[in-house]
Amino acid sequence: MDLKEKLLSSFMAFEERIDVNTDLHNVRTEALKNFENKGFPTKKDEAWKYTSLNAVLKNDFSVFPKQDNAINYPDVKKFFLHQIDTYKLVFIDGIFSSFLSSTTHDGIDVCLMSSALTKPKYKEIIDTYFNKITNLDDSLTSLNTAFANEGAFINIPKGKVADKPIEIMYLSTGNEAALMVQPRNLIIVGENAQVQIIERHQSLNSNPVLTNSVTEIFAQERSITDYYKIQNDVQTANLVDNTYIAQKGHSNASVHTFSFGGNITRNNLNFYHQGERIDSTLKGITIIGDKQHVDHYTLVRHATPNCESHQNYKSIFDGSSTGVFNGKIYVEKEAQKTDAFQQNNNILISEKATINAKPQLEIFADDVKCSHGCTVGQLDESAMFYMQSRGIPKKEAKALLMYAFSNEVIESIRIPELKDRITKLIASKLGVNIGFDL
């Protein structure tokens, strides 16, 4: 039985565990129908031309993990931003771990999707927001929606500022031979509210994992949302991340994606503008090697006047790694005075590495400022010689240059401890220990 059939047949088993007499259930069954019609994306789909899930889908994934997987905090501490106090939503093999988590309902809600989906007090919020900005055509998003049950639920009410960052951590124990998980996150950042969120997916051994994650973020008027994704998983972990962000007027939302590991990583990042004076930031650093594959598929849909978007993706490819950058900026006719910027710089260190870069601008307004730039190159030899001539060995010089290359993105991380963590991750990824903390 292939994975698609397995998923379709397990939906009935899933229905036995949930309340089927709800509006939500209609949403789920509709979504399942779409997945059934479309199936998993293949290379024939334009959007998946350069990323193939075929090999991954051949694994015999368990779709319902066991309930009793426990992990001790000291074993996973290093994956958390442990230098500072944070709210934590931790899931082990897709199941919430109250033991490792630190939730709150004190002024803000940092809790579970499963309780938000079932408790009457959240019904209005769920009815208003759940599955309201996803792409209903997208088969993987539909698949997630069909099985949507667990994940992070974060609600920052009007005027509230989350007093510490929130970490969303999805851990896989590897207790299953192969595991598919489908986390579903819903984040509402109210008017004038602020929040910083860090999301990470981490496998603890080398059994294959396929994560098909969907995150919806609603950034209301004048809110500030900073979202950081750390993707430094093991070689057998695969991630399809579908993130949808709807922004209201004067809001500021940023997503930073740090892709340093994993087998196949696909980031579908979508921004939708629903008001004026919106500021959107999409940044990423990708440093991969071996046979790793990272695909950034971004969309910024400018639908309203006087908004800005800034995209900056830096990638370094070693070994036989492959990368894709497909960045689409869509400027609707009404979106006059749009200021949209997109930059994608790539360095290929090895002759076997590949990048497919495709910036796409579709502009229907006539008074806009849109620019994009895309480069593919090697490390600057004159800079290498300069550093070596000062006594810095080749390997360290290379690392410094790569650090310098990604610095523009590192600089805009607004949590100092995270910035420190990311620079250290980069240093370890580059295999150096130089005289100061990278």
């Binding site: 800079a383 300069y386 550093m387 070596q388 001539s389 060995p393 010089a397 310098a404 990604s406 005289g435």
Partner: protein, 248 residues
């Protein structure tokens, strides 16, 4: 200190150095002058170990050791320093952190412990004062957005920090106004001693008013075609390079 014997080098398929012989003793300052395209910058790059140039014949000795096959960083660890004509910008790495890395890598290569932080800071303070460098400047990204003069001053600051045995200044005077030139030259002069040597590569005689050479060599077509004392620089200034070209 430095002994170059019959050095030939090429880049791609073009022969640039065609048999250089040069002896530089400790305590000496040598100036290498010559028209554009004569091979001055190639010579400095080859001494420093730039791998874009292929040495086809000859050897370079530093204190008796053949360094012809050494990587650039190994030469640096042995005390070779090249002040670049066009210093490279490294965003995200501050001048201070770059120097800490460079110094400690050299110390590591020479079997020394890392320099203690307070000693490093003291040295940075002293050397930056010598070059009249503002402290704020040191926390800026290396060479990024620096003016031409700031870049050159920063090169000499690095030289002061690394305390090389052999310093090669490649067109350090280009792009400098007269005040910056004075500061840079003053820095170099203060760093001169009986134990180190300086090679000044320049197109014009102007810098040599400030850094007075013991010897002047004229490079033309990849060879040293004339050598003399500091008066040779004045002669060149007066007669121009056509004089050399017509003789060769």
């Amino acid at each position: 200190m430095l002994s170059i014997k019959n050095l030939h080098a090429r880049v791609e398929d073009k022969d640039i150095l065609r048999g250089i012989n040069l002896e530089v003793k400790a305590g000496e300052v040598h100036a290498i002058m010559g028209p554009n395209g004569s091979g001055k910058s190639t010579l400095s790059s080859v001494i420093a170990g730039n791998e874009n140039y292929e040495v086809t014949e000859g050897n370079i000795y530093l204190e008796g050791e053949d360094i012809s096959e050494f990587a650039p960083e190994e030469r640096a660890h042995k005390g070779v320093f090249l002040s670049f004509q066009y210093p490279v910008e490294i965003p995200g790495v501050s001048v201070t952190n770059f120097m800490k890395t460079a110094i400690n890598e050299s110390r590591k290569a020479n079997g020394l412990e890392e320099m203690p932080a307070n000693e490093m800071l003291k040295m940075i303070r002293e050397k930056s004062e010598l070059l009249e460098i503002d402290r704020k400047f040191l926390s800026r990204s290396l060479n990024e957005g620096f003016s031409g003069g700031e870049k050159k001053r920063n090169e000499i600051f690095q030289m002061a920090m690394l305390e090389p045995k052999l310093a090669i200044l490649d067109e350090t005077d280009s792009g400098l106004d007269i005040d910056a030139l004075r500061i840079v030259a003053n820095g170099v002069n203060k760093l001169r001693s009986e134990d180190n040597a300086v090679i000044v590569i320049t197109h014009y005689q102007r810098l040599l008013d400030y850094i007075v050479p013991d010897f002047v060599h004229v490079l033309y077509n990849g060879k040293i075609v004339k050598s003399g004392g500091k008066e040779l620089a004045y002669e060149l200034e007066e007669k121009g390079y056509d004089w050399i070209k017509s003789e060769n």
